[in-house]
Each structure stands twice: as C-alpha cells, then as structure tokens.
Amino acid sequence: MDRFRALFLSILLLSCLAVPALAGPFEDSVAKFANDEFSDTEAAVGEIAASGNALASPIISALQDGRLSADPDSKKVFITQTDGKIVDATTGAAVDKLPDNAAAVRLNNRLRRTVEAALGGLTLLSPDPAKRLAAAQSVFKSHEENLLPTVESALAKESVKSIKQAFAEARAAIILFKSDASDSDKLDAVAVVKARGDQEALALLTGLGDQPALVTKAAASAVSSIQSNLAMWSMVQNAWYGLSLGSVLLLAAIGLAITFGVMGVINMAHGEMVMLGAYTTFVVQEVIRTRYPALFDYSLLIAVPLAFLVAGFIGVLIERTIIRFLYGRPLETLLATWGLSLVLQQAVRTAFGPTNREVGNPSWMSGAFELGQITITYNRLWILCFTLAVFAILLAMLRYTALGLEMRAVTQNRRMAASMGIATSRVDALTFGLGSGIAGIAGVALSQIDNVSPNLGQSYIIDSFMVVVFGGVGNLWGTLVGAFTLGIANKFLEPVAGAVLGKIAILVLIILFIQKRPRGLFALKGRAVEA
C-alpha cells in the first residue's frame, strides 16, 4: 500500500521537477514498442507506467493518440508532439525527422483500455482539470485497486466540486472491488455509487461479484433504485428521441409542404432536392478541406445559403421548363417529377459516383452532453433548433409578406390572380424555388446524420408525403404537428415493438387515423374547401 503511495507521489514529484530520465530498464521497455506485437506493447505500457519516468505520461499519451512511432530496425521510438516537433522517446531529445521506415505503434481495443487505465493513473494529479476529470472517470471504470492511494490524495487536494465528486465515485468504485475493504466502507461506497445513479453506476453495481451479504443487499437495493430512476428517465429519453426524429421528418417534409401543400404539385423530385442540398454541403466541405481547413467549423453555415441557392435555382429551372405547363393537372406533375427524380439521381451518380461521400460534423455538432440521465447529441439538438427556425421563418414569410400572399393567391386561382395584376409566372417560379430551396437546406442538416449518396432523397420521400398528408395538406402547422406526432409515436413504439414492427404499426395507425380525419390532422374545414 504505502509503496504505491510513495511511487505515485514520486511520479508526481518527478514530473513536476522534470528530472531527466535515467538509462536502464526504461529504455528496454520503450524499445519493445518497436516489435509490432500487441503483447510486447502491452508489457511496455505496464512497465513504463510503473517506471516513474517523467516521459511515461507523454509516451503513453502519444501512444493513445497514435503519435508514437517506432523504427523496427533501430528499435528506436519517437514521439511526435502535438506541436509537430519530434523527440526521442527514451531521452526526450529533439530529433529532426522520423526515420523512413518508422511506423506508428499499433493498438487494439484491449491495449487501448490498458493505455487508458495507465494514463488515468498518470493523470489523476494533472494540473489540467479536464484531464483529471477524465482520469477519475477512467478509474471509476477500471477500478484498479493499486490506484486507491493516488485517488485518495487527489480527492483530498481537489478543489473543483464536480471533479471532487468524480474522485469520490472513483474511490468508491475501487473500494467496492477491494476484497479487504471493511463492510461499512463498502456500504458507504454503495451509497456514493447509487447517488451517481447512471448506467455506469448500474454497470458497476451489477458486476460486483462476490461480496458480503450486507453489501450484496445494499447493492441490490441500489440497483433497483437506479433502475427505476433510469426507467423514468427513459420516458424522457423517448420523448426527446421522438422530438428529434420529428424534427428530421419535419425538415424533410417542410419543403414539400410548399411544393405539394401550397402549389399542389405532387413533387416526387422533392427528395432529390434534399439530396442536392446534401451534395452541396459535401462540395463546400471538400473545398474547405483542401483550401481553407481552418474554416471547417463554419462549413455548414456556408453550406446553408449555398444549398438554398443551388436547390432553389434548380427548382426555378424545373418550374420554368416543366411544371409550368402542368398547372391544374397535379397528377401529371407526378409523372414528370418522377422522371425528373430519376434523371437527377443518375446525374448525381454520374457526377459524384455511386458511393457515399463523406460529410463531416463540425466540432459544435459532434458529441453529446448529459442532461440528467439522458444523452443529448449536439447534432440532433442543432437540427431541432434549425428546423424550428426554418419553420418560423417560412411561416412568417407566407403569412406576412406580399410574396407570401401572392403565392397563396396564385395557387388558389391562377387565372384570377393574373387578373389582379400578379405576375403569376414569377410567383410560381419563386414558390417552387422556395420549396426546393428549403428542401436543399434540409439536405444540409440531413447530411449530418445520414448517408450522402444518390439514394438519399428516396429514403425521405415517402415519409415526407406521410407527414404532409397526416398533418393535413395545405396547413403548415399541420405539417409541424404531424411530424412531431409521428416522430414521438414512433419512438415510444420502437422500444416496445422493435423498429420494424414499430414502423409497420405507425403506418397502420396513419391509415386508421385518416379514416377518422379524412383530411388530416389539421383539416381545412368549411365550404371554402369545397369551393
């Protein structure tokens, strides 16, 4: 016990003083990295972590990040520092460049875990609070007994509340698995872990193995309390998933609510407009990647207006060359736009190839945060916000602008609108362009969660029509409520029935619902409709 404490204190001391490394077994250990054998690498990590050498932490971090290279011939190992400089791993001396046949030291999952654990031990006392937190969490997971003294000393010193909490939990985790801990310590530990209350806590408690009866009982009650707590949260989680699925459905359908809902064009090429938006994002990112990598985080902000313009422009083009000959014959628009969708798909396939293209998530759209016991991913959250914003803007546009009024007038009675001095052809083109443009920006958002492939649009077209029709054709609010209703219903059904049966159930529900409300959720009523 005391030996470990001393060891880790000395690591701390050494790394603080940055005393140059000593020659000897440490070098041999490092050299093992050059063997390109997972077992040797594992051994090396263990030995280095225990060596107390100041370079241990940099070496192991480098290994974790793939910045550690080894030359199999000379058995020399190098660290590429985050600033790009290269140093010799045994001496810390700067090196000009990597030898030609130096290759990154490989890891597999088992090793990665070892590395994480080792690094956790090494960074528990790091001055960087983020690292300390990560270390505490990794210790909680690995609950390595020999880290207890370090954890305890770290706990004593810690001043940040949340990290202190994490250390306390890490300590509790270790104690729980420590065979010689006293029952009362263990019971305290159970309480701490129970207070944490999340999946990890549950995992820890269910995986306890043999324990004194008292502890087993406490753990069991903690497990059931965590479980019931989690079950409650899972309702919240389903609701959130439903909202997020709803926002995707809404986003995909909203352009269709214009071209189909307002204009009456059965626009089978709607999905392809979405696809064009996604490909615009791809092109934007491609240019950014090759020319202005620093702008990557802004790529979506740039792509949104561009996608609107690209898809909108193509929409206008389609309206001018095809749709305008078909007003008043909605079913023929089905035929023509279906043809169009085939052409657009194949055009994209020819231009960009048939395979998926990579569209990356900017950093602000990656990852997740925890809210209570649910995980909210940033990309879904942003998509929800974005969708609502698009919806609000569109609604305001239709409601309060002259163009909005003209659009509605033209689509209700084109001939009379012309006699009121409305340039119907311009309005038609703009309306279709608007619907297409919105489909385009939907593509930008969908590129963040789905394939960017020529088939992208196909996978949304049916759902989009369902949403628009379910909500009530011609009513934007209906589309909104329809999308969220279907999204939430789907997500509450999915855990019960499974994804496939859930989807079938939703379809059957739509069919039955339409029997009750033959004109959708927000049906237009009154003689105005029949007029």
Binding site: A409, Q412, N413, R415, A418, S419, A528, V529, A531
Partner: protein
C-alpha cells in the same frame, strides 16, 4: 380609353366571338347585354387576356395590348369582376382585398375607404375566409377587390347576379359613383335590363358571338333592347 376592334375568339373549333367591336370611355358606362351563351363573358375574357383571340385588336390607353399577358393588362389599370366571383377561397376577406396591391406603388398600398363605405359587410368580415362567405357577400368582395387596384377600366360581368335587392341598389350607386369620378371607364355585362338601362351610357346587345344592336343613352329604347335580347 378602350377600343376593341373586330375580334374573333374560338373555343377549339367553336367560334364564340365574331368580329366584335366595342369602345369604352372614362366616365362612361358601356353596357353589354345578351342572352345566355351569346359570348358576353368571352368578350370580357378577351379584354383581360384570359383567353387568346384569333384576330382583331384591343387598344387600351392608346396602346395595343393585344399581345400583353393578363397580369400586364391588370397592371395597366384593367380591373375585372368575373362572373362566378372567383374569390380566393382560402384567403381571408382582407387578404383577398390585398391581392389587388400588386400594380400599386408602395405608398398606395392600402384599401381605399370607398370599398368599405360601399360594402360595409366586408369590413365586418375582414377575418373570415373568402370561400366561406355567402354568394352575395362574395360578389361584393369581388367588386371591392377590383376597386383596390384603382383601375382605369373596370369590367363587371353580371355583378348583380345573386345579390339582394338593397345591395343591387348599392352596387348601382357604386357604379354611378365611380362613373361620376370621371376617370374610370366601365364595361358592364348584364342581363338585368332595368339595372343596365339605369346606369348605361351606351349599349350593345350581343347574339351568337356578335354585336347585333347598339345604341346610346340618347336614343335608348328599353323595349327595343328587350326585344333584341329575346330573339
């Protein structure tokens, strides 16, 4: 102001207008009369450009507008109250009126007070959807809508159809009010003879797509017109 010169119009092979000529002057009401199906509506459609004519010319404000699109004609000041009202059914009354803003300059984009003083019912129903109104209310809305455009030429296709007597009187008063403004030319298509005779400055009776009788207020003989229409 408006000069229709010898126009012919076909629906497919069926000829609906045969060499029709007609003029309308500011401050004057030109009445077009005739039985069902003689081509009155077709004539107005030709004037507003909703249906292409086969030959002939239409002059408005000194310019040939034969080739212009309907909306361009509307922007030059032709207001149209169609038969069957053609209200935008899902727009509210107010929005229906606002569709007339297109040809106007920004500062003119308001609903003239005339409209509400002529048809008070519209003011009370501003928020209701046009399509929900009763037939007569729609007719009033259609006239009001055309007035919002501040037209130089107003074409009315049977505006009294389906209107209660008191409002017919109102419409009559409205038409004479507009005529008396002196800067609007009015073409009134009617079957309601008394109404037409009261308002008209000149008269044309159509039959089978052609004007077969015409006269001025000066030599108006209602009995003769009635006889012409009955034939």
């Amino acid at each position: 102001m408006l000069k229709v010169d010898n126009i012919n119009l076909y629906y497919g092979a069926a000829q609906a207008l045969r060499g029709v000529s007609l003029t309308a002057e500011p401050g004057k009401v030109t009445c077009v009369l005739g039985r069902n199906g003689v081509g009155k509506t077709s004539l107005l459609r030709a004037m507003v450009g909703q249906y292409p004519i086969a030959s002939g010319a239409i002059n408005f404000d000194g310019k040939d507008i034969t080739a212009l699109k309907p909306y361009e004609r509307a922007r030059r000041g032709i207001g149209f109250v169609p038969q069957g009202r053609e209200i935008f059914p899902l727009l509210t009354v107010e929005e229906n009126l606002k569709t007339g803003f297109g040809p106007l300059k920004r500062e003119d984009r308001n609903i003239p007070n005339d409209v509400f003083s002529l048809f008070p019912v519209l003011e009370t129903m501003l928020g209701r959807r046009g399509g929900d109104l009763s037939g007569g209310q729609q007719q009033q809305l259609a006239i009001g809508r055309a007035l919002v455009m501040r037209p130089k030429l107003l074409l009315l296709d049977e505006p009294t159809e389906g209107i209660q007597p008191s409002i017919i009187k109102d419409i009559g008063r409205a038409i004479s009010y507009l005529r008396n403004l002196g800067n609007i030319a009015i073409v009134l298509v009617e079957q309601y003879l008394d109404f037409a005779c009261e308002l008209g400055d000149s008269f044309a009776v159509m039959d089978r797509g052609a004007v077969k009788y015409a006269c001025d207020r000066a030599n108006l003989d209602p009995a003769e017109i009635s006889r012409q229409m009955a034939l």
